[in-house]
Amino acid sequence: MAQIEYAAPASIKEAVGLMANGGNSARVLAGGTDLLVQLRAGRLKPGLIVDVKSIDEMCSISVNKNDFRIGAAVCGAEVNEHKRLKKAWPGVCEALDLIGSTQIQGRATLGGNLCNASPAADSVPALIAASAVATIAGPNGRRKVPVEKISKGPGKTVLKKGEIVVYFTLPKPAPRSGDAYLRMIPRTEMDIAMVGAGVSLTVDKSGTCTAARVAIGAVAPIVLLVADGAKALIGTKIDDAALNALAAAASAACNPIDDMRGTIEYRTQVAGVLACRAALIAFERTRS
């Protein structure tokens, strides 16, 4: 078996340098819960592994005046222990809380969930609904990309050679905002989403929706931001007519696969149902 090189740099600059010079088989290692499984299965043969867990900027959470910054290598369990984040973005936190088991959540990171580029990644619809933006560092400096623009299809991202996701920025929610994430799995736990839906919304004092974002996962090659779903909610009091329109928009956006977890018809219908249920929970949370 070919030798694998391993490095655990302490700075972004060093990590980017290693990734840029490491050839096409260089891989970032964060929690390893996708990468090491793929390595063991022989599906991935990295020549160089760059462990980013020693880079402070990637492993910390900070609260700024207008936003939260979550390091790409922060694990889900740590996000769930952060009280202010949990209060601001409960939907993002509940999505992270669904990933694997306790032992997986203590390792699995946000950056890994996004960059593994599975259409069923649970945190991604919630992050998209939350308007999260990824800051990417590369050989030519830094750039910011909205989370919905990162994946290009299963296992593929827009990251160029040498690029690493450093952190995610989530805005501080406006007053009377709420978010939620729901997924459907064939078993009760430890399974991959057949459909996932993340919704965030804001209402005015009269309870009328003024802003919304709807994202659905596992029903297309990438997680989808459903603009028509948001339009169905804005200007309404999340009444039955709005929910029906949301369900229709979510189902219309689907382009799913048929597999052992669910048929095309089932996934398409469930996407509409889950989007509505997530919208109702998010709506309820605008009051707390």
Partner: protein, 158 residues
Amino acid sequence: MPTVSMTVNGAEVSVEVENRTLLVQLLREQLRLTGTHVGCDTSQCGACVVHMDGIPVKSCTILAVQAADADVLTIEGVADGDTLHPMQAAFRENHGLQCGFCTSGMVMAGLDIARRFPDVDDATVRRELSGNFCRCTGYHNIVKSIVAGAHAMNEAGG
């Protein structure tokens, strides 16, 4: 080949490994601590759970080089000589195992559950055990064991 140093069950060890070596391979094949088991190749079963710096991890999903300088606790380090730890004793008393393949992972998970929820109830144990599979017991007696073990640890003052 790199040499990694870590503490395993209180003892300092230094071992030569390949970069691809998993922590579980280091423990089982190099240190001959075969109480930690491998029950799957997809990181799902939990037979390989150990504590790394006090946190439960699946040792099949961590490179040995990532555990450099860490403090690792395996099932072999849980008992006090010939005296079983209260969590182990609870598994024996409550018939918490049949073939025993999952048991070391269950005990390691149980110790962490007891630390985080001293007054734990059945529902919490069931939720927390989602990453540990058992083919034999139907879980009922494992849940009973962990609840009893956690309460015994609580009474003994942790």
